[in-house]
């Protein structure tokens, strides 16, 4: 379920009343549970948002599938109208005039307005002119929420109601904004209801069940995922569920008993499908190395093919073995082997 995040109770009031949310008992307070979302009220400002959202994500874990921050913002330019609700694109962070390098981009691919999270209200024209070069909107919490979302790998969205044009700020306007919190909340609630159905949910993919009988280490799992992704780019409808792939998996199961060896064979096969050039290279190298292997050398070479260095290991128990090794070395052609590494191959 999504976690909806608000700075002020007033802005969340419509959500609390209309969706029958129940208060959840936590050490940090102000967490509510509904039938299809959680709601958290953090209090105003960067630090409050950072602490409470992080605590909440830690508490709820995988029960949360995305974070959605609702709130209000001010505009630094005349481009946007008061009363508009904007989906934020990229959020920057400013502590006074000092900008934090890191930024976060929301998961809304259609968003096109950036914002600055600021630690203090923008009341001076000097500060305004410094900040407007980065973004047109200012608010107080989104960067903190996005930072936590990034940490927990949740998709993040932020929707802000524009309440004022910053240049025109005064004490009266600030008070008016506070007093109008419930009105903003009503607007945000209607907005949320209208977009609820279209917000995409990111889900992690599961390992395919057809890989039963194969044993994957963590790095091999990553390798498999990477190979499948690359293959799907090279061959648009490639998948392990295809007939050809199923046959391959079956064939490997039939002639290779050990799950670990099956995995190695599968990964090698997929690599060769992705990179036929590598298959040719590997075959040519093995052909060149045959005399050495037949002479019972253990041969290792650079599997990345960047260096042509060879390492040979052998055990010697008799003169006969020595003669075999010498014979193998005589039959081995270093020049032919090197040619492979300088690209002199027919492909």
């Amino acid at each position: 379920m999504p976690l909806l995040i608000f700075a002020h109770r007033g802005e969340a009031q419509s959500f609390l009343k209309l969706d029958n949310l129940i208060a959840t008992n936590t050490l940090f307070g102000n967490l509510y549970t509904g039938s299809d979302y959680y709601l958290l009220i953090t209090g105003e400002g960067f630090h409050c948002a950072l602490e409470k959202v992080a605590a909440c994500c830690g508490l709820l874990g995988q029960k949360i599938d995305r974070l959605i921050n609702f709130g209000i913002c001010g505009s630094l330019s005349d481009q946007y109208k008061i009363g508009e609700i904007i989906s934020l694109r990229t959020i920057y962070f400013a502590h006074g005039e000092k900008l934090q390098f890191k930024s976060f981009t929301t998961a809304d691919n259609s968003a096109c307005v950036d914002a600055l999270t600021v630690t203090e209200r923008v009341l001076s024209p000097t500060l305004e002119s410094r900040l407007v070069v980065y973004a047109d909107l200012v608010e107080r919490e989104a960067w903190a929420c996005a930072s936590v979302a990034n940490l927990f790998k949740h998709p993040f969205y932020s929707y802000k109601y524009i309440t004022d044009r910053v240049a025109n700020n005064s004490q009266e306007i600030c008070q008016h904004i506070k007093d109008s919190a419930e009105h903003y909340g009503q607007q945000l609630y209607q907005f949320y209801r209208s977009l609820r159905q279209t917000v995409p949910v990111e889900r992690a993919t599961l390992a395919p069940p057809m890989l039963e009988g194969f044993y994957f280490t963590a790095s091999q799992q990553r390798k498999l995922a990477s190979l499948l992704k690359s293959l799907s780019i090279k061959v648009p409808d490639f998948s392990l569920a295809q007939d050809q792939s199923r046959q391959l998996l079956q064939k490997i199961r039939e002639h290779t008993a050990h799950p670990k060896h099956r995995t190695q064979e599968l990964l090698e096969n997929l690599e060769f499908q992705l990179n036929p050039f590598k298959k040719v290279l590997t075959e040519r190298i093995h052909n060149r190395l045959k005399p050495l292997e037949e002479a019972h050398f253990q041969v290792s070479y650079d599997k990345q093919f960047e260096s042509d260095q060879l390492k040979l290991t052998a055990s010697i128990d008799s003169t006969k073995q020595i003669m075999q090794l010498i014979d193998g070395l005589k039959k081995f052609s270093w020049e032919d082997y090197q040619k492979i590494f300088t690209g002199q191959i027919d492909v």
């Binding site: 990229t90 900008l99 390098f101 096109c112 780019i233 050039f277 960047e306």
Partner: protein, 334 residues
């Protein structure tokens, strides 16, 4: 075209800045103290260049002309690159700019006199038997927006007075407007980066199509402008030999290969940062179907046999089609 133009207060009255502002379209004009105060200070997502591109105008400070890495150009002569702009309007998915700067915003530096002054110092220090080569386009395309930035004629004038030095203008555009009104000089080479048509469509987003670049080459060649060609980056696929055969045939129609001043060949390569950014920005690029390794200089490349095979294959195709072997060099390869 631009969301914001941010201009240094110190160049508001500069004729070049005024000229640029008259030509570009933008929503907001903002004054800043210096470009360094703002540009690159925050991480602006690379792909926001599609919808939220800003332009900075100001003076370049610090080092303006730098020594180029080894194997940058023809061997035997010292190579330098100079910085007249940052970032590029185009969107090539392998581009190193996506991992180099923290922002895709364009920057036009207008203090070309300072750049020329540094070039002159280098020229005067270079022994007479050597030809110092200066390359534009290290951090931007040399010609794509030259009709806006307006510096080409300035450099033509400079290099006219220093025939011993060479200037290379490297481009993926067909925008030769700024050149065609000028008198060609033997020491100013316009070099075009070319790839097979399908690869341009797939990887060189928003750049001039192959036909347009070849037409530009033909136009300039007919007006006696020296031409260079960069077949770079070479990106492997299962049909690569056929594709380059086709490309070379089409190039021959635009310009006899023996008339080309030099042809460089380079296989696609990345720093670790750029590779990581490319995976993030273009997760569906067919480049990811290739197998990459960390190579001799720490860069991410195809393995050595594949690289050398590709380079030799394409070089053979060129020579077979009339290209001169001594004018073909390998770029950034050991």
């Amino acid at each position: 075209m631009f969301e914001k133009v941010l201009i240094e207060k110190g160049v508001l009255d500069h004729p070049r800045a005024i000229s640029i502002l008259e030509k570009v379209k933008y929503k907001t004009l903002l004054e800043i103290d210096t470009i360094d105060d703002v540009f690159n200070r925050v991480k602006k997502p690379y792909l926001q260049k599609r919808s939220n591109l800003n332009l900075f105008i100001g003076r370049k400070t610090g080092s303006l002309v730098k020594e180029a890495p080894a194997a940058y150009g023809e061997s035997g002569h010292p190579h330098y690159y100079f910085i007249h702009a940052y970032n590029c309007f185009y969107e090539c998915d392998y581009c190193y700019l996506q991992g180099h700067f923290h922002s895709p915003d364009l920057v036009f530096f207008i203090n070309h006199e300072d750049i020329a002054s540094e070039m002159l110092t280098i020229i005067n220090k270079t022994p007479d038997h050597l030809k110092p080569c200066f390359h534009a386009g290290e951090f931007s395309d040399s010609l794509a927006l030259s009709h806006l930035s307006g510096e080409i004629s300035f450099y033509f004038n400079f290099f006219k007075n220093h025939p011993r030095a060479m200037l290379e203008l490297r481009t993926k555009s067909a925008n030769t407007r700024a050149l065609e009104d000028l008198t060609p000089l033997n020491n100013i080479i316009t070099s075009f980066s070319l790839s097979p048509e399908q690869q341009i469509r797939e990887h060189d987003l928003k750049t001039a199509p192959l036909k347009a670049r070849l037409a530009a080459i033909s136009r300039l060649h007919k007006k006696n402008f020296p031409i260079g060609i960069h077949l770079d980056p070479i990106i492997y696929n299962d049909h690569i030999v056929d594709e380059y055969q086709q490309l070379i045939a089409e190039l021959k129609n635009a310009i006899p290969l023996e008339k080309i001043n030099y042809i460089s060949l380079g296989v696609v390569r990345f720093t670790k940062d750029v590779f990581h950014q490319m995976q993030k920005n273009y997760p569906n690029s067919s480049i990811h179907a290739g197998e990459f390794i960390k190579s001799f200089d720490g860069k991410i490349r195809y393995n050595r046999p594949m690289r050398l095979w590709l380079l030799q294959k394409i070089k053979d195709l060129l020579v077979h089609s009339g290209g001169q072997s001594d004018k073909i060099y390998l770029c950034m390869e050991d």
